[in-house]
């Protein structure tokens, strides 16, 4: 009986992992609730395509925002950084312009949140947020891209 229950729980947990983003403060940004999806570039890659990077899931959103919206998004990322395992952040003035956040793992799955805000010609910001899942450590990712 115990074995059956353990198997069933494992099954549920493994499928539940697919919704890991949901717990994040910046989840509404990925959902298109802060900036409508029609004003964003949304990329999603899952599975074999990411295996090269020891990752299993990639989701990014990129969009232009005014300073007020940029601050709102930055606040959400900062809130996630507060509860994360580690976070490297950089600010320009009061605005968070860079964040590399190592979120708490989900079982054996490592999770990262990458954030960048770059100034645009129109006194606004080009914001990129990437959510990553996989087995790659931060060192793995750095060494993979440093070689290129």
């Amino acid at each position: 009986m115990k074995k059956i229950m353990i198997c069933l729980l494992s099954l549920l947990l493994s499928t539940g992992a697919a919704f890991a983003q949901k717990g994040l403060n910046c989840y509404p940004v990925f959902q298109g609730k802060v900036i409508p999806e029609r004003q964003m570039v949304v990329t999603e890659v899952r599975g074999d395509g990411m295996a090269t990077y020891k990752l299993s899931y990639y989701r990014s959103v990129r969009f232009q925002a005014d300073t007020l919206t940029a601050r709102k998004v930055a606040d959400l990322v900062e809130a996630d950084a507060l509860t994360a395992d580690s976070a490297e952040t950089e600010k320009t003035g009061e605005l968070l312009t860079y964040g590399l956040v190592q979120l708490k793992p989900l079982g054996i799955t490592r999770r990262y949140l990458c954030y960048q805000a770059r100034p645009t010609d129109y006194h606004g910001w080009m914001i990129t947020i990437i959510y990553l899942e996989g087995s790659a450590t931060l060192e793995d990712l750095r060494s993979m891209f440093e070689k290129q």
């Binding site: 697919a18 999603e44 890659v45 312009t97 100034p119 990129t128």
Partner: protein, 135 residues
Amino acid sequence: MNDKEKYLELMQRYFDAETSPEEEKELALYAASTDDPAFRELRGVLGYLSIGLQKKAKKGRTVRFYSIVAAASVAIVTAIGISLLNQDHNSCIRYTYGNKEDDETLIMESVETSLADFFAGKTPAESNLFELFER
């Protein structure tokens, strides 16, 4: 007092609900070992009770079995549901301002560029400065 008389008395006490579990067991063994018609009624009652117990035990096992089957079914259906919601285990897709694109090569190139942007070691302050000077 011979055996029969002893067990007849015990039987009487059994029907009056005055026997101990040990006595009932002894009486049941005796009733099962004799064909004496005086104990026919007792055999009938004991037989009925034993069938009842077997049925109860079987019913208990059946209920437990169906509970496990029900729990397993719920878990499997939930897992399948979640999996279906998250169907594409290998997907590569991009929506550029609402327009769907599925050119895997192009998408993977942009993924690599974005990842390199974060992990290649170039600090964002540097990137921003380069961009400002390029303008």
